[in-house]
């Protein structure tokens, strides 16, 4: 199928502001948008800048706004987003500074990720056999959703609260916090809840639901944020 990729370009060394450029490409309906972008970069315009690593929906590098919404370019099939002869718009994520073309500065995103202490904290003595801390399958299941996160930033940069103020910790960091708050081996629940209870914590969430819709891993992000809010309001971590 013949389609046009309309890509928002921005080169900080030459441009005052972003502009659109269109590239005609010929792709199979079952190819992914990433393949189409590769065609542009490899055969038409080598100056196009984009991030991607594994290209299989695991590393979370190629989040971009595709036809206006956050998706992973490597998980979107052309046939699902455009008809023959149609146009696909591709833009960088919203709310983070654009470095070049489709590449944004993810540092604020990762700073929020670090702020919730994304690791198990437990200073208690090890079990008697000196090996791992065992956990029941049910207790493991409780935080399973959060473990699926690949830190692609699709949720955080789909969030209106984050767009208008990137000081907000954002959905992804809350999902990560949830993953440890609801882990019964962890002992830093209070500290993590305290971070999320601050002015730029969970209370900035306006339940817009864009995060859940954007998540390429189908994590119920708004639900997890809701559970953290409830834990803060009632003390029930359940």
């Amino acid at each position: 199928m013949k389609v046009t990729l309309k890509i928002k370009r921005f080169n900080p060394e030459a441009d005052q502001k972003p502009h659109w450029e269109s590239y005609p490409v010929e792709v199979e309906p079952t190819e992914r948008l990433l393949d189409a972008l590769h065609q542009v970069k490899w055969f038409q315009d080598g100056t196009l800048a984009l991030r991607r690593s594994c290209a299989h929906g695991i590393c979370g590098s190629d989040t971009m706004r595709i036809n206006g919404g956050n998706r992973l370019a490597c998980k979107v099939l052309m046939q699902d987003i455009v008809k023959d002869g149609g146009t696909v718009t591709v833009e960088p994520m919203l709310g983070l500074k654009v470095i070049k073309d489709l590449i944004v500065d993810l540092e604020p995103f990762f700073a929020h990720y670090r702020s919730v202490m994304p690791y198990v904290v437990n200073d208690e003595a090890l079990p008697e056999d000196g090996r791992e801390r065992l956990q029941s399958p049910e207790a493991r299941e409780r935080f399973d959703q959060g473990t699926k996160c690949i830190l692609c930033a699709a949720c955080t940069t789909a969030c209106p609260s984050f767009w208008s103020n990137s000081t907000y910790v954002g959905p992804a960091a809350i999902v990560q916090a949830h993953r440890f708050i609801f882990d019964d081996r962890d002992r830093a629940t209070d500290e993590r809840l305290a971070v999320l209870n601050e002015q730029f914590g969970v209370w900035r969430c306006r339940t817009v639901f864009n995060c859940t819709e954007a998540c390429p891993r189908d994590i119920p992000v708004t639900q997890l944020i809701g559970e953290v809010k409830r834990a803060l309001a009632t003390g029930r971590v359940e």
Binding site: G68, A158, N197, F209
Partner: protein
């Protein structure tokens, strides 16, 4: 200026983000809330002129205000306002329910709930819009106002009975199809961290939101829809405030509705005003505005209708 320009373009790009039902529902909730707040602030002040008008030596102040509300433009605005009040109420109730049962925040249920909210809003708005549109037609277009006056007692009884029933019906519809039967995930208890100002505000928004649905809807149903602006004058206000119960009702309405509105505006300020200095200044303005307007309203409700000697 460039900072303002950048914020504006980000704002516009955000509005154009291709979200789904949740994004629409959020934009609608904000617009409806802001519109209602704007009207509410004006409404508190102009109603207060029943007391302050005579005090300031302008006893006809209230009838002037009411004349403005009787103009066709304002009557159309009133019909839109009622839609906003209905939508904001039902959608708010949806948010509160989902927050209470976070496992309801899942894709299918959220999308379905949005359409339920829209359908219920239209369903409730249609008869209200019909009655108000009819009044607009009779008074402003064919200029043949009905000779019989509105039966205030019947309207009041109807509104006071129907709206609590409606409230529970809406609650039921929002719950049906939900995951009420699906058990919430089990877990453990921890000591809740100390509540911050934001925790308290978040909880107040929810409690006051539930309370405001009957409070505001009964008020709107009687005053805007059933009785109508053409039957409202100084005598009407005096008659209502002759009952202590209605004065207490209006005090509650003033406190909760305007408090809810100002805190909503605080959320909007926090969302769009990132500069800490300006953020703080605007929030102080909000507090001052809230205190002044609430005080004006409260004095008028306590003072009652003042007539020239």
């Amino acid at each position: 200026m460039t900072a303002i320009g950048a914020t504006m373009s980000l704002f516009v790009e955000g509005l154009l983000y291709r979200g789904r039902e949740g994004h629409l529902s959020y934009i609608g909730h904000r617009l409806a809330g802001l519109g209602t707040l704007l009207f509410l602030a004006i409404h508190i002040v102009d109603t207060s002129s029943v007391y302050f008008g005579a005090l300031l030596g302008v006893p006809e102040m209230y009838s002037h205000a009411i004349d403005i509300y009787r103009s066709p433009l304002f009557m159309v605005g009133e019909i839109v306002l009622v839609a906003a009040v209905i939508y904001h109420g039902i959608n708010g109730l949806k948010i509160i329910l989902h927050d209470t049962f976070p496992h309801w925040w899942n894709k299918g249920f959220e999308r379905q709930s949005f359409w339920k909210v829209v359908a219920m809003t239209l369903l409730l708005w249609a008869p209200a819009a019909y009655l108000m549109g009819r009044s607009l037609y009779l008074h402003s277009i064919c200029r043949c106002p009905p000779v019989e006056t509105a039966d205030v007692t019947a309207s009041t009884n109807f509104a006071v009975t129907a709206i609590p029933l409606l409230f529970f019906a809406i609650l039921a519809v929002l719950i049906v199809g939900g995951k009420l039967l699906a058990p919430a995930p089990a877990g453990r208890r921890v000591a809740a961290p100390p509540k911050t100002l934001d925790t308290h505000i978040w909880q107040f928004m929810r409690w006051s939101g539930v309370l405001l649905i009957p409070l505001v809807w009964i008020h709107v149903a009687i005053q805007d829809v059933l009785v109508g602006v053409h039957a409202i004058d100084l005598d009407f206000v005096a008659l209502r405030w002759a009952t202590l119960g209605w004065r207490l009702y209006d005090i509650a309405l003033l406190g909760f509705a305007f408090g809810h509105a100002i805190l909503g505006l605080r959320n909007v300020t926090n969302d769009y005003l990132a500069n800490p200095v300006w953020n703080r200044r605007v929030k102080w303005l909000l507090i001052i505005g809230w205190l002044v307007i609430t005080a004006i309203g409260a004095v008028a409700i306590v003072g009652g209708v003042m007539r020239p000697e």
